[in-house]
């Protein structure tokens, strides 16, 4: 019984990790309707940023938030403005996919050039210390990630629902032409949204870096599951992606323990394919709010 609880706890913690990495990806997809294949590389850059701040200045890794989040916001906004926006006029979505895949490759190679292929370990500053909650043991840093994921999801939803800018963002997603007729600068909203999405993965990077080694390929490792989660949650639904993250985390953990660790990915992708076949619009596709296709 205690073992099962431990396995479930591990699953939830893993789910929190997937959630925090995928929130920004969901937002960008839901509003800008662009699949950002460079999302993982934004994460990787944020992890390196955290590593540099922590090891060079000897500060607590969380302090890196002050630098990493604004830098990623700007990187995201510029990606939209300089790379995606000019391609949007072409009306061919495939070109945008190639563009973000290209950006992803470029960033990996840039990281190889600057940081080399060696692994960088961010000093954990106590974040790898275990805490006992009843019969289960998890890492302090994992709990922080889980709580931060919830805070990010709730905060983002409240921002979209309650603020004037949040409403403008949803308006652009629902009917781009009508949004322009309301006086909304649609291009500005796209850049802002891309920036917010990238800033979210910046938060994730700062929290993830102390727990996992950083290398130029870190992004690829984390983000594959994030794509699964985003599709599973019903493309563009932030709440859906969160629920999907927990589900995938639990499946991963349970399958890894009871079936065998080499079976984890088979279980995760098996369930993923099954859900796609049974519910092509994702688990929460019927309540798809953000990704309402504009005419």
């Amino acid at each position: 019984m205690d073992i099962l609880l431990q396995v479930l706890a591990n699953g939830l913690m893993l789910g929190g990790l997937f959630a925090i990495v995928s929130v920004g990806l969901t937002l960008i997809f839901g509003i800008v309707k662009v699949v950002n294949f460079a999302h993982g590389e934004f994460l990787m850059l944020g992890m390196y940023g955290t590593y540099l701040v922590t090891s060079a200045l000897g500060l607590h890794p969380f302090v890196a938030v002050i630098a990493v989040v604004p830098v990623l916001f700007i990187l995201g906004a510029l990606t939209q403005r300089l790379l995606i926006q000019p391609l949007m006029a072409s009306g061919d979505d495939h070109i945008q996919i190639f563009a973000t895949v290209g950006l992803s490759t470029a960033l990996i190679n840039l990281a190889l050039l600057v940081f080399g292929a060696d692994i960088a370990n961010t000093p954990p500053h106590g974040l790898r210390a275990p805490v006992e909650i009843g019969p289960v043991r998890v890492l302090t840093g994992q709990i922080v990630i889980f709580l931060a994921a919830i805070a990010l999801v709730v905060g983002l939803q409240a921002f979209l629902a309650r603020t004037q800018t949040g409403r403008a963002i949803r308006a652009v997603a629902q009917n781009r032409a009508a949004a322009e007729l309301m006086g909304i600068d649609v291009k500005r909203i796209y850049a802002l949204t891309f920036g917010i999405g990238a800033a979210c993965v910046g938060v994730a990077a700062v929290l993830v870096a102390p727990l996992y080694p950083t290398s130029p390929n870190s992004g690829t490792y984390f983000v594959l599951t994030a794509f699964v989660v985003v599709v599973l949650g019903g493309l563009g639904s932030i709440g859906g992606a969160f629920a999907g993250s927990l589900l995938i985390g639990l499946i991963d953990s349970v399958a890894g323990f009871y079936v065998g660790s080499d079976m984890r990915e088979i279980a995760v992708f098996g369930v993923f394919l099954l859900i796609l076949i049974l519910r092509p619009s994702g688990l929460f596709g019927s309540r798809l709010k953000l990704a309402h296709v504009s005419p």
Partner: protein
């Protein structure tokens, strides 16, 4: 207030509007009459900044606005209530109306304007918390008009406000348009019900194949043989 001089505009390589010149003075109600495909919607979209003229000039309140984009025109005080309503379907009626007041000049007086507008649309008030996508066609049109008014525009443009509505709803829409006109807002309107519109309007333009072929006082157009035959079916 608004002046188009020799405007050419269209979609991509296809030019739809050829040498269109028209003007609207402050406080006036002006209508554009034309057959399906004549370019009425294209004209309104060009004025609204959604299309950029390939030649010619547009001025608004004496300033050149030819190359301004849609949201910049809204900031200047030009609002288009588009053909086919174009509401935000997954937002409540209230949120749709608040989006209407996004324009800087309207934002500060949001609450006050909302009260004023709802005064005019009691049916919309009853539906404030409902999703806009779940309204009937007539209700959606009322919300679209109310949303346009939320911007407190200087020039309000209507594109086919009665399109696809049942006759009884059409007369309600006209009643609302009449009230807006009487309140003194400058209006440029395109409407399939030419007879009614010419009675409300001060002046009108007749658009055929993207060219202005006739311009006159509304009363004179009502008496014009060509207009009577082609657009009034008399």
């Amino acid at each position: 207030m608004l002046r188009l001089e020799g405007v050419h505009a269209g979609y991509g390589a296809t030019t739809i509007l050829h040498d269109v010149s028209l003007d609207v003075a402050a406080g006036e109600v002006v209508t554009i009459i034309g057959a399906n495909g004549a370019g009425k919607t294209t004209t309104l979209r060009t004025i609204a900044g959604l299309l950029t003229p390939t030649a010619g000039r547009i001025t608004f309140e004496g300033q050149d606005v030819t190359r301004l984009s849609g949201h910049e025109m809204v900031e200047r005080g030009v609002t288009l209530i588009p053909e086919g309503r174009q509401l935000f379907p997954e937002m409540s009626v209230r949120e749709n109306l608040l989006m209407g007041a996004y324009r800087r000049a309207a934002r500060a007086r949001q609450a006050e304007t909302l009260e004023e507008v709802l005064e005019l649309f009691p049916r919309v008030r009853e539906r404030l918390d409902q999703n806009a996508g779940s309204l009937s066609g007539g209700e959606q049109q009322m919300v679209a008009i109310a949303r346009g008014m939320m911007a407190r525009p200087k020039l309000l443009m209507f594109d086919e406000p009665s399109l696809g509505l049942a006759p009884i709803i059409v007369s309600q829409v006209f009643a609302v348009v009449d009230r807006i006109v009487r309140s003194g807002v400058t209006v440029l309107i395109v409407e399939q019900n030419v007879f009614h519109t010419l009675q409300v309007a001060d002046r009108g333009y007749v658009l055929e194949n993207g060219e202005i072929v006739l311009r006159d006082e509304a009363k004179a157009l009502l008496a014009n043989d060509h207009v009577r035959r082609a657009y009034l079916g008399i």
